[in-house]
């Protein structure tokens, strides 16, 4: 589980039935310089994972809220035709206020058969929801992915 890296963490969060509100949840995609970018559109470099796969590194930033067991579900689609590229979810504890978590790898390659994920706009949407299913926040960013220069293998498995 990801946890806060701050010195002074407050105690257990109070129950909060309402959504987090505008600006509380930010979705950062690590750009070509491996810096997290919290904007609307990012050019990102795929990173090699183990077992021969590639992923796009992202960061979730939650400001002013603390909750246990929040599900962060991601969906990546091609912007041109909405073809699904990747989806998945992870469970995190969001505690203590401003939270900059570790890099989260969003699996991209091997892409679904016949689906190219390189060089064209993809929409990455992340939805945060509580254990009861209530959505507390949602963010979308447009990402254009490329492979590391040295990896012909990456190109071969990211083009479907």
């Amino acid at each position: 589980m990801l946890c806060i890296a701050l010195a002074a963490c407050p105690g257990p969060p109070p129950p909060n039935p309402t959504p987090w509100g505008e600006g509380a949840f930010e979705l950062g995609v690590h750009d070509l310089n491996d810096m997290p970018r919290f904007g609307a559109s990012v050019d990102a470099l795929l990173e090699a994972g183990a077992q021969g796969g590639f992923h796009v590194p992202v960061t979730y930033r939650v400001i002013g809220h603390a909750e246990h067991e929040v599900t962060f579900a991601h969906v990546v689609r091609r912007k041109s035709d909405s073809v699904l590229v990747s989806q998945g979810s992870r469970l995190f504890d969001v505690t203590g206020g401003v939270w900059t978590g570790s890099v989260i790898p969003i699996f991209i390659c091997p892409t679904p058969i016949g689906t190219n994920a390189l060089g064209e706009a993809l929409t990455l949407e992340v939805t945060a929801s509580r254990s009861g299913g209530e959505v507390v926040a949602r963010q979308t960013v447009e990402v254009t992915l490329s492979c590391p220069e040295s990896s012909a293998y990456c190109a071969s498995i990211c083009k479907g």
């Binding site: 090699a48 994972g49 183990a50 077992q51 021969g52 796969g53 992923h55 073809v83 699904l84 990747s86 989806q87 998945g88 979810s89 992870r90 469970l91 790898p105 969003i106 699996f107 091997p110 892409t111 679904p112 058969i113 016949g114 689906t115 293998y153 498995i157 479907g160």
Partner: protein, 554 residues
């Protein structure tokens, strides 16, 4: 001749027209035929996926010297490693194996029911960057020594493995490239000193990952032509091959009347018809209920505490037999079944067969241990000269708990935690192992049954008895052909009915549909009535017309 049956009603309509009395189909399923052609799969893996964590049960198949055993697996993170159980795979194969049945039906008055054709089962049966050491951790579990190494540098990793006597298969150097990345890891296994290949048992790995993948490129080193790869996926919905095609076999090519012995050949042929030969077939997709309480029925294995208290070896081993250690069945007849190798080896390590006790197998020794150590020993003491036992009930009970009981119970629990199971199969040759398959899920796809039924219809009529009556086989997909004494050609048609892609949402996308190739021109007659029967009907009709047209005598 082959023809596609459009509707079942057509068959019924013809039958009613021709005959005055319809002998209802016996509707009985022929009893299953135990002669199952077993396909030796080279890889068998069960994946369970939940919340970004993958649990993989991996069956390790190896035949050779213990010293030459080496196993390498790339991983995205440092895994949790446990021992698995062979029984998991034996039960999975058994409960999800595709089965091919033939149902006999009869039309007309056949004067007695022909013996049901036997149904056939078809099995497919298929280390640190820079100056630091790459070693992350090393330990032992069960029969293995293992090490988790950082995969930052191939050279550093290989050097560590060689220096520490881990066997590296020839050719690994060329194929390991895609898996060498900063932040990645390798798990290496070897057999402990003094262990043999017979001690090998499955391993269970748990590691964070979005989707499970098989590093098949690495496997190509030890692969054989058309090596079977069986994958079972547990999850919330039906699993799919994410980056491989999906194929539905053409069941007209199945040797239905020959116990479906050619099933694996048909699958191999179907896969060879797909692009790059990268395709899986779904052999089962449905509930995990079929595996619940199979590995861990209530009461199986008894209690470790009770076992540890049995200081008499005969009573100890007897407890094993009567508490489901042979095969999960608690019954007195269990003594007839041998103990599985893992259990047997553990017991024999402490209570070996005396060297002078010739002609007694290990299984017989264990099944009659109380007698051999009791009355038999008293009357044949010379056969126990020099024999000693290191029997230690608490220690043996603990070993059994670690290597047998807990793995079975933990594997059994999986089938209560996950509602859906999918069995996927492919056959790949080394030169085709160029892409690592990744698996995902699609909740909108329908279930797939492992059972397949064809109808063998015998059309009796006024002029043919059951022995000479024409017979038609209608496959599950609806292909119909006349059954004659000549063997049917099962090699010239396509192996695949359809080649398609499955994605994580929506229906399958068909790439190739071979239906037209299988049935280019619908043939008439071969699935309905024979010419002799039609001729008889015509004669009857003509007779009736002449009678009506003859004026009545006034």
């Amino acid at each position: 001749m082959l023809a596609r049956i459009r509707t079942a009603a057509l068959i019924t309509a013809f039958a009613l027209t021709l005959v005055s009395r319809v002998s209802e189909a016996c509707g009985c399923f022929a009893p299953p035929d135990p002669t199952v052609p077993i396909v030796q799969a080279g890889e068998r893996i069960l994946f369970a996926v939940e919340n970004g964590v993958v649990t993989a049960h991996i069956q390790i198949q190896y035949a050779g010297d213990a010293k030459d055993f080496g196993w390498l697996l790339p991983l995205p993170s440092v895994p949790t490693l446990k021992l698995g159980t062979e029984e998991l795979f034996a039960q999975l194969i058994s409960t999800t194996q595709p089965r091919y049945f033939v149902r006999n039906t009869f039309t007309g008055n056949c004067g007695g029911i022909r013996n049901a054709t036997a149904a056939g089962f078809s099995g497919s049966e298929s280390q640190d960057a820079g100056s630091s050491s790459p070693l992350v951790t090393e330990s032992s579990i069960g029969p293995y020594d293992y090490a988790v190494l950082k995969a930052d540098s191939k050279e550093a990793m290989f050097k560590w493995l060689t220096d520490n006597h881990y066997f590296i298969p020839t050719g690994t150097d060329e194929t390991v490239g895609p898996y060498i990345n900063p932040g990645s890891y390798f798990l290496a296994l070897k057999l402990k000193s003094g262990r043999s290949a017979g001690d090998i048992q499955p391993v269970v790995l748990t590691y964070p990952s979005d989707l499970p993948m098989i590093p098949i490129i690495l496997t190509s080193l030890a692969a054989v032509p058309n090596m079977g790869i069986q994958v079972w996926m547990l999850g919330a919905s039906r699993a799919i091959p994410r980056n491989y095609n999906h194929v539905v076999i053409n069941d007209a090519q199945i040797d239905w009347l020959g116990q479906a012995r050619n099933y694996n050949e048909v699958v191999i042929r179907a896969i060879s018809e797909t692009p790059e030969k990268h395709a899986f077939i779904t052999e089962y997709a449905g509930t995990t209920a079929i595996m619940r309480d199979v590995l861990d029925p209530s009461g199986r294995f008894g209690s470790s505490g009770e076992l540890a208290a049995l200081t008499d070896p005969g009573q100890f081993v007897s407890y094993l037999f009567t508490h489901g250690f042979p095969n999960g069945i608690n019954q007195s007849g269990a003594f007839g079944r041998p103990l599985p190798p893992v259990v047997k080896n553990l017991v024999l390590a402490m209570v070996p067969v005396p060297e002078k006790l010739t002609g007694v197998s290990e299984d017989a020794w264990l099944q009659n241990l109380s007698n051999y150590l009791g009355a038999y020993r008293e009357t044949h003491p010379e056969q126990f000269v020099g024999w000693s036992s290191t029997f230690d009930a608490p220690a043996l009970a603990a070993q059994l708990d670690e290597k047998v009981v807990r793995p079975a119970r933990e594997a059994g629990e999986l089938f209560r935690r996950f509602p859906k199971m999918t069995r996927l199969y492919t056959a790949l040759s080394p030169q085709d192992m160029t892409r690592d398959p990744v698996f995902s899920f699609n909740p909108s796809l329908p279930d797939v049954s492992r059972d397949h039924t064809a109808e063998l219809r015998t059309d009796c009529n006024l002029f043919t008895g059951s022995q000479n009556a024409p017979r038609t086989l209608i496959t599950e997909q609806g292909w119909a052909f006349r059954v004659t004494s000549e063997p049917r050609d099962l090699t010239s048609g396509p192996g695949a009915l359809r080649i398609e892609t499955l994605s994580e949402e929506g229906d399958a996308k068909v790439l190739v549909d071979n239906s037209a190739m299988i049935d280019p021109t619908p043939a008439c007659g071969c699935a309905s009535v024979d010419a002799l029967g039609l001729g008889a009907l015509g004669l009857l009709a003509a007779t009736l017309r002449r009678r009506r047209s003859t004026p009545a005598a006034s």
